[in-house]
């Protein structure tokens, strides 16, 4: 793109915006081209950073404290605890699921680490402040897992993405992140979404508003998990 009379590519204009233009003619072209200079001006954004972005950097997210669990502890937990939770189990808990569109038989395992003890969550017992929760997912063909925390009443739930990542094509994927219950609320909600491509808050809101519409519902599998939270038991824990 050495000819100043031609429009530079969008890539070149983006690089110019960052002060890294490759071609010396780009600056002079911009001086005489409103189309390209408008594009460069539009790249600036004064919008505040959205929550999903700040959540990438901060270890906490609405009561959940992210902690990376070292591989050894993952292995120890996995060895100590059998794989858990066929999908039918949570389906029996009416308030814990919204709906499911099934492809194969995905499942989610929920591991709780309380002080030095690790165990599988039984689906009903309350969690305690300080507990750490880690998930394992058997995707059964789904390629990605996205975890949202949710808040608000059921008719107006707000979702915030707190994790997303790939799933192994076969077998169980242990998510590399654990969340710590900080006890700020007596209830914590997680929404586990399996999909073939990235899923954001917008899609989830749209989908939950109209779960029966026929827009690729076979491409999503969802499970909502509700944890009741109570204060820690006494010191012997």
């Amino acid at each position: 793109m050495s000819d100043a009379s031609r429009h530079p590519s969008r890539l070149e204009l983006d690089l110019h915006k960052l002060g890294a233009a490759q071609y010396p003619t780009t600056s002079s072209h911009l001086q005489g081209c409103s189309t390209c200079s408008d594009h460069v001006k539009r790249l600036s954004t004064n919008k505040s950073v959205p929550r999903w972005a700040t959540g990438l950097a901060k270890p906490s997210s609405r009561g959940w404290r992210r902690r990376v669990v070292v591989a050894s502890s993952i292995g120890a937990m996995a060895a100590a605890i059998a794989l858990f939770l066929a999908s039918s189990r949570t389906e029996e808990q009416a308030d814990e699921q919204r709906y499911t569109t099934v492809k194969g038989m995905p499942s989610v395992g929920i591991y709780v680490k309380r002080t030095a003890r690790s165990f599988l969550w039984d689906g009903t017992d309350p969690l305690q402040q300080g507990d750490r929760v880690q998930l394992s997912v058997s995707g059964e063909g789904f390629l990605r897992v996205t975890i949202f925390s949710s808040s608000g009443d059921p008719s107006d739930q707000k979702f915030e993405r707190i994790y997303m990542g790939p799933l192994q094509p076969k077998g169980v994927t242990y998510l590399p992140t654990a969340w710590r219950i900080d006890g700020a609320s007596d209830r914590e909600d997680l929404l586990v979404v399996l999909s073939h491509e990235a899923v954001g808050e917008n899609k989830i809101h749209k989908h939950l508003r109209n779960p029966n519409r026929n827009d690729r519902t076979d491409k999503l599998w969802m499970r909502q998990l509700v944890f009741r939270v109570q204060a820690p038991e006494s010191a012997e824990q």
């Binding site: 960052l18 890294a20 999903w52």
Partner: protein, 185 residues
């Protein structure tokens, strides 16, 4: 895609994004998200899909911050990744190309009337939906983003010759569309 760039902004303190601690995500967002968003909007329109792909691209960029080393590499990575994510949306039936860059190099048809440009865009989108991934990437980078063949080769990390071949193949697919669909009646 080489050479060091002087980075006056506080983002890349010592040449890598990783040198910024997590509190500086605001700086990374402010610096790159506009580029990501406009790139996605060109491919997918001002849609929820564009927002999702932009969000996914930024999230991946943040995760890659320890390995991306200069501005050119960052922007090339953004173009490569977001285009590949958009490909999945096209395969899922999402077709929202907002406009086509008519100044790009290569076999770009130059319509002279708004009607012919609309037809060109419709044919382009139709062919995009069926093109293999590599052709899709080259076609989008060339005709939507206006990249030269050399720039595409840098972004996709392939040779110029491969880019020429893929663009030619894409054009052949366009040519297979009946002429009645490619010209204003």
């Amino acid at each position: 895609m080489s050479g060091s760039v002087e980075l006056g902004a506080p983002l890349l303190r010592s040449g890598t994004i990783s040198s910024i601690d997590s509190e500086h995500i605001e700086a990374v967002y402010g610096r790159y998200f506009g580029i990501i968003w406009h790139k996605c909007a060109r491919m997918l329109g001002d849609s929820d899909d564009a927002k999702d792909v932009a969000q996914e691209t930024f999230t991946r960029l943040w995760a890659k911050r320890e390995t991306v080393r200069d501005e050119r590499a960052v922007v090339a990575w953004i173009y490569r990744t977001s285009t590949r994510l958009a490909f999945a949306r096209y395969r899922a039936g999402i077709r929202h190309v907002s406009y086509i860059e008519h100044e790009a190099e290569g076999p770009v048809e130059r319509g002279s009337t708004p009607e012919s440009l609309v037809l060109l865009r419709d044919v382009f989108v139709k062919v995009l939906a069926i093109a293999p991934r590599r052709e899709f990437e080259c076609a989008v980078l060339n005709r939507v983003d206006g990249l030269t063949q050399s720039e595409i080769a840098d972004v996709l990390k392939v040779s110029d010759r491969t880019v020429r071949r893929l663009l030619t193949q894409f054009q052949q697919r366009v040519d297979l569309v009946p002429s009645s669909e490619r010209t204003a009646s």
